[in-house]
């Protein structure tokens, strides 16, 4: 009898529901073996119309909106997405600027210029330099800053990030981090120090492909990275931004998993503002050639489908995209944009700056971006949070 109970408990322990409550991985596993191509081939025009007529769409509708068939209905999707964005966010675009603190990195992401095997000039900002950069950036009116480091617990440990945050607090009303995955406790420490936002891209959700693209270093741990956004939620960050690097794998699936991940986080941590980025691979020092094409049209479809799936989710667009495309994406669901971005360490105030992580495509200044947003009939918002 006792044995039976034990067995029962054990079975219960690996119960799906249980896994699903513990990590997004459980949700991901539900789609393992799912015949995506078969599904896409089976989508009919009518399915798209049905999805567009619904007030709330479910996962399968979302996947249908990501299908090749839905491309025919892009305009209709755009109209709906724009309406939802207007209602939920109004005619505003939030602005932020990234600040690279350090490009020391122990990882071997094949697509990244900071990859440990790339022979580039490595540097990290001293606190005095952080201050200089902060001054230069805040002069442009920017109030939200996103700080980035490569993965090196030796060169850019949490204590270093914290010290930088103390400096930056004087200049910015919101500080987000895009650094290597941390423990929940470490996130909590950073929150206490004044960090309110978190960004991390899974890069690729495809678990089989992941190790081939991340061949060495701590980043090769797929699940540890996958669960990082959840740890940040638990540490009570205010905003959590996720994404996958489009082009590493087939974008329709990757976008789907990104959306599911966002939905999972929003459902389990309703008090956190969840947002999603749609970064596409840019050329970098490593000369990595993406295996999958992601056209402008594809990118637009991915964004529109997500907006319809999650009307309230934030959508972030980076300077990776060229000026013309960025201009046209305003109004299609984007809520946040980076401006005046440099991806090099010391890129704002320093003349002999280091190499960038990737080449940015939109090199316009904050002022130019601001004017552009205005010309589109939107308000550029520099401040949307305040340290409290």
């Amino acid at each position: 009898m006792e044995m039976v109970t034990e067995l029962y408990i054990e079975l219960q322990y690996i119960n799906y529901e249980e896994v699903w409550h513990m990590s997004f991985y459980g949700k991901y596993m539900e789609y393992r073996g799912f015949d995506f191509d078969g599904f896409f081939n089976g989508v009919k025009d009518l399915d798209i119309q049905k999805a567009l007529n619904k007030e709330c769409i479910d996962e399968m509708d979302y996947l249908a909106l990501l299908s090749p068939v839905a491309e025919k209905c892009l305009e209709q999707m755009a109209v709906k997405a724009q309406q939802l964005t207007f209602w939920n966010f109004g005619k505003v675009i939030f602005l932020f600027t990234p600040l690279y603190l350090s490009n020391y990195c122990t990882n071997k992401c094949v697509y990244c210029g900071f990859n440990v095997t790339n022979d580039i000039k490595r540097s990290k900002l001293t606190l005095a330099e952080v201050e200089q950069e902060a001054e230069a950036i805040s002069r442009t009116g920017i109030r939200h800053i996103l700080i980035l480091t490569g993965e090196s617990r030796k060169e850019s440990p949490v204590s270093y990030i914290k010290e930088c945050v103390y400096v930056l607090k004087k200049y910015f009303s919101s500080i987000s981090i895009e650094v290597y995955p941390l423990e929940e406790q470490e996130y909590a420490e950073l929150v206490k120090a004044g960090v309110d936002g978190f960004t991390m891209f899974q890069e690729v959700y495809n678990e089989e492909l992941y190790p081939q693209l991340h061949m060495g270093g701590p980043k090769s741990n797929y699940c540890y990275r996958l669960d990082a956004p959840e740890r940040a939620c638990r540490a009570y960050m205010r905003t959590v931004n996720i994404g996958s690097l489009l082009g590493l794998d087939e974008w329709r699936r990757e976008s789907f998993f990104t959306g599911l991940h966002a939905d999972y986080l929003q459902g389990n941590y309703p008090d956190i503002e969840i947002s999603v980025s749609f970064p596409r691979i840019r050329p970098s020092a490593g000369c990595f050639k993406p295996k999958y094409q992601v056209t402008d049209k594809n990118l637009v479809q991915a964004m529109l489908a997500l907006r319809i799936f999650m009307p309230r989710v934030g959508i972030t667009l980076s300077t990776r995209e060229n000026a013309k495309l960025r201009d046209n994406l305003i109004g299609l669901g984007v809520t946040k944009m980076s401006a005046g971005s440099s991806t090099a360490v010391g890129g704002y105030s320093n003349k002999n700056k280091s190499e960038g992580q990737f080449d940015i495509s939109d090199e316009r200044s904050v002022e130019e971006i601001k004017q552009l947003i205005r010309s589109k009939g939107y308000q550029p918002v520099f401040k949307d949070w305040q340290q409290i």
């Binding site: 109004g90 505003v92 939107y378």
Partner: protein, 257 residues
């Protein structure tokens, strides 16, 4: 008899409150306020950029308006309290609209945390206007906690669905001896008129004006609708029959001799 709305000891001439978070530019705000004839303007503290001349939204709000900072972004009572104090310390006056939203999917207010924050802030001398889900018991507690008005939602924020909570709002209007200000969800002037006809003290509108093709004109339309609704309320709207009458009276037999 002049029909004035009194909140926190101030007599207000306008029953249309305006939200500011969604406009296409700050520059449009003065003309919106003017055509809406609005007096109370709510601004999220998180958005106020005190250091910037161009971007500081407060510079666009006419001097004769009452600024009602709101605690948008607060996820619990403590955060709302901190935001309220910051707002007052920054010179935004002592009105505060409490928004505690711990649910980003539907943006539904957290009544329990809202009551907690109201209690603390009212004691500190704030004029507290809490945004809430229309629940009678919660409204009673907000009144006991010292709220100056209660602001039930008409529909979830940003949905433009109209007065979906009508029956619940009616109960608040009947039972709570404070101005009831319908906030959120009103998508059309007719819906604002509807709220006013029921006896709401005022309405707060942002999305519907900000996302209109011509926001200034829409502000005017809302202003007229609010006045019309108020006038109708005072004129005593005729009873609208909600069920059919039997062709021969069901109680007619009582009259039979």
């Amino acid at each position: 008899m002049e029909d004035k709305l009194v909140i926190g000891g101030r007599e207000l001439r306008s029953r249309l409150f305006i939200g500011t978070g969604k406009f296409s530019s700050n520059e449009i705000i003065p003309s919106i306020v003017k055509s809406a004839e609005a007096q109370v303007i709510t601004v999220a503290l998180r958005r106020i950029d005190f250091e910037s001349k161009d971007e500081n939204i407060l510079n666009y709000i006419p001097d004769d308006c009452i600024i009602m900072p709101n605690t948008s972004g607060a996820r619990n009572a403590d955060e709302a309290i901190r935001i309220a104090r910051l707002a007052r310390a920054a010179g935004c006056g002592n009105w505060i609209k409490i928004e505690v939203v711990s649910d980003n999917r539907y943006l539904m207010p957290d009544n329990i945390e809202t009551i907690r924050a109201t209690e603390v802030l009212a004691k500190e001398g704030f004029v507290v206007l809490p945004y809430m889900s229309p629940d009678l018991m919660a409204a009673k507690r907000l009144k006991d906690a010292g709220a100056a008005a209660v602001m039930p939602l008409g529909a979830p924020i940003g949905t433009n669905r109209g007065l979906r909570t009508k029956e619940l709002v009616k109960i608040l209007i009947n039972e709570i001896d404070l101005p009831i200000i319908v906030d959120a969800g009103l998508g059309k002037p007719s819906e604002a008129a509807e709220a006013m006809e029921l006896g709401a003290g005022a309405v707060l509108v942002n999305t519907a004006i900000a996302t209109a093709g011509d926001p200034v004109k829409m502000a005017k339309a809302f202003s007229l609708a609010v006045k019309a609704g108020r006038m109708a309320y005072f004129s005593g709207t005729g009873t609208v029959k909600e069920y059919a009458e039997a062709s021969s009276p069901l109680t007619g037999f009582l009259l039979d001799k």
